[in-house]
């Protein structure tokens, strides 16, 4: 660590790199034949046939029937029913940005700025906010076990799935013209660059360039419209592993887990910033509704 500190200091003060000259010189990188890399690579194209196959059958499954629809139906019931300590329904109290009770098209226009909360919020965060502020549920309870596991599905997950289902076949249109949203978008752009943790990973380590894979998994480049669309489409998603319904909030947390980062708090500003960055980059792309995931 001492070297790193010295290095940082050297850089920060823009002084001569002569500092630390007492350190032994780095071993010279042995010469390697430059042309080797290309000729050595075994065919990669073959693998992508498997990916195409997965995509084909996923599309077929969504068309024929995605269990996510079961959660949409449950969410719709919850949206319409008077619930919580205040005994009001979300349908008569919750504004997802297009007016109280308006669900159609709301998902593809979030994250957006909500003046009543004084914050930019993504769909899940907004639903939770409404459940707390309008229905009187305790925030701590909703935050305690926010994601599905086993046979348990949080209520907000089903509600978000219902909300998302009502933006099916509509285009993403995160209101970037709103300066609040734009500001959060720019913060998100910085979050994805932030390298830290034991492996020096940032979001961009995996998701900042085209055509990369981890094992067989395609890594969308979230800085492009196409890549961002790949990352945003399909959430919330019915996950075949474990048969659970999971939200985009959950996926952000799992990214950080694999990045060897600590856990982002549920419904936090950082996660909203990330979702704002990714979803706005996908603006103009048609949302295909709740998806199906591996």
């Amino acid at each position: 660590m001492r070297q790193a500190l010295l290095a940082a200091a050297a850089f920060a003060l823009a002084i001569s790199p002569a500092i630390a000259q007492d350190k032994p010189a780095a071993a010279a990188k042995p010469a390697a034949s430059k042309k080797s890399a290309k000729s050595a690579a075994a065919p990669v194209e073959e693998k992508d046939a498997a990916t195409l196959e997965f995509e084909k059958f996923r599309a077929k499954m969504i068309e024929e029937g995605n269990p996510a629809e079961l959660f949409e139906a449950q969410g719709e019931e919850m949206w319409k029913t008077k619930r919580g300590p205040k005994n009001v329904s979300l349908a008569e109290s919750c504004d997802l940005g297009l007016g109280v009770g308006v669900v159609k098209g709301a998902y593809v226009q979030m994250p957006r700025y909500f003046a009543d909360a004084g914050k930019v919020m993504d769909a899940e965060r907004r639903v939770v906010w409404c459940m707390v502020e309008k229905q009187g549920f305790k925030e701590a309870d909703l935050h305690a076990k926010p994601f599905a596991s086993g046979t348990y599905t949080p209520e907000q997950t089903s509600i978000v799935t219902f909300v998302a289902g009502h933006s099916r076949d509509m285009k993403f249109a995160v209101p970037l013209k709103d300066p609040h949203v734009k500001d959060v978008y720019e913060i998100g752009k910085e979050v994805v660059k932030h390298r830290a943790g034991p492996y020096d990973f940032s979001c961009n380590t995996c998701h900042g360039a085209d055509g990369k894979r981890i094992r067989m998994q395609q890594l969308p480049n979230i800085s492009t419209q196409k890549g961002a669309a790949m990352a945003v489409l399909g959430w919330p998603g019915y996950r075949m592993t474990g048969n659970v319904m999971l939200t985009h909030q959950w996926r952000m947390g799992d990214c950080f887990r694999q990045q060897r980062f600590p856990e982002p708090k549920y419904a936090s500003d950082t996660v909203t910033a990330l979702l704002t960055y990714m979803t706005a980059n996908a603006n103009g792309v048609t949302y295909t509704g709740p998806g199906i995931k591996r």
């Binding site: 290095a7 790199p17 380590t205 055509g211 894979r213």
Partner: protein, 204 residues
């Protein structure tokens, strides 16, 4: 990591005092403040991991393109921290290396602390031809030794590259496996064997 965090805060403070051209953008500052507030410890993934160490700060500040003038020296500093096996042998058992290369475990909040950490190699690299599920974040390493030879220099290069990839490329995407204690010297030399041993399937 605690120590790292403290030092990196010092480093950040120093950088903050740097000339205007190097100053944080408004949004980067906001992002750092936000992350500081929003991340919590879970399992072995402690909240302080969100802080950068000195090297990460430099790479983050410069978009992974540190000024040429200082890069070489900083790489040398990284190289200086590379520790070699006590017996000096850099070529281990490629079969053990393959096992380490396969495992992607370690350091996440769902990993049991204390269990062996994997090399994560196949996550990003093509290596032995038998494993067809490999990533492409890093270059293919198939035929690595066959094309480059199994010389003492090459062994030292591969060893130190795995130990601390930043010794050769300051802002390399590759983790510093030895430097952060993910892999022990004995494990790294098994990986050296996987890449260089003429008997390794990589070189068949």
């Amino acid at each position: 990591m605690k120590n790292t965090a403290r030092i990196s805060l010092v480093a950040m403070a120093m950088i903050a005092a740097a000339p205007a051209a190097l100053a944080d953008s408004d949004h980067r500052a906001k992002a750092l403040a936000m992350m500081k507030q929003d991340f919590v410890t879970k399992g072995q993934a402690t909240a302080d991991r969100i802080f950068e160490d000195g090297l990460q700060t430099i790479c983050n500040r410069t978009g992974n393109k540190p000024p040429e003038g200082i890069t070489k020296q900083l790489e040398k500093d990284q190289m200086a921290g590379v520790k070699y096996p006590v017996d000096g042998k850099l070529l281990g058992d490629w079969k053990e290396g393959e096992k380490i290369a396969q495992s992607g475990r370690g350091f996440t909040w769902t990993d049991e602390p204390g269990l062996p950490v994997g090399g994560n190699c196949y996550n990003c690299h093509q290596i032995a031809p038998k494993e067809t599920s490999f990533g492409t974040v890093g270059p293919s390493l198939f035929h690595f030794g066959k094309l480059r030879g199994n010389t003492a220099d090459m062994q030292k290069y591969v060893y130190s590259k795995i130990y601390n990839a930043k010794s050769y490329n300051l802002c390399s995407e590759m983790p510093r496996f030895g430097h952060v204690g993910a892999l022990k010297p004995e494990q790294i030399r098994h990986l050296v064997a996987l890449l260089l041993d003429p008997e390794s399937p990589v070189n068949k």
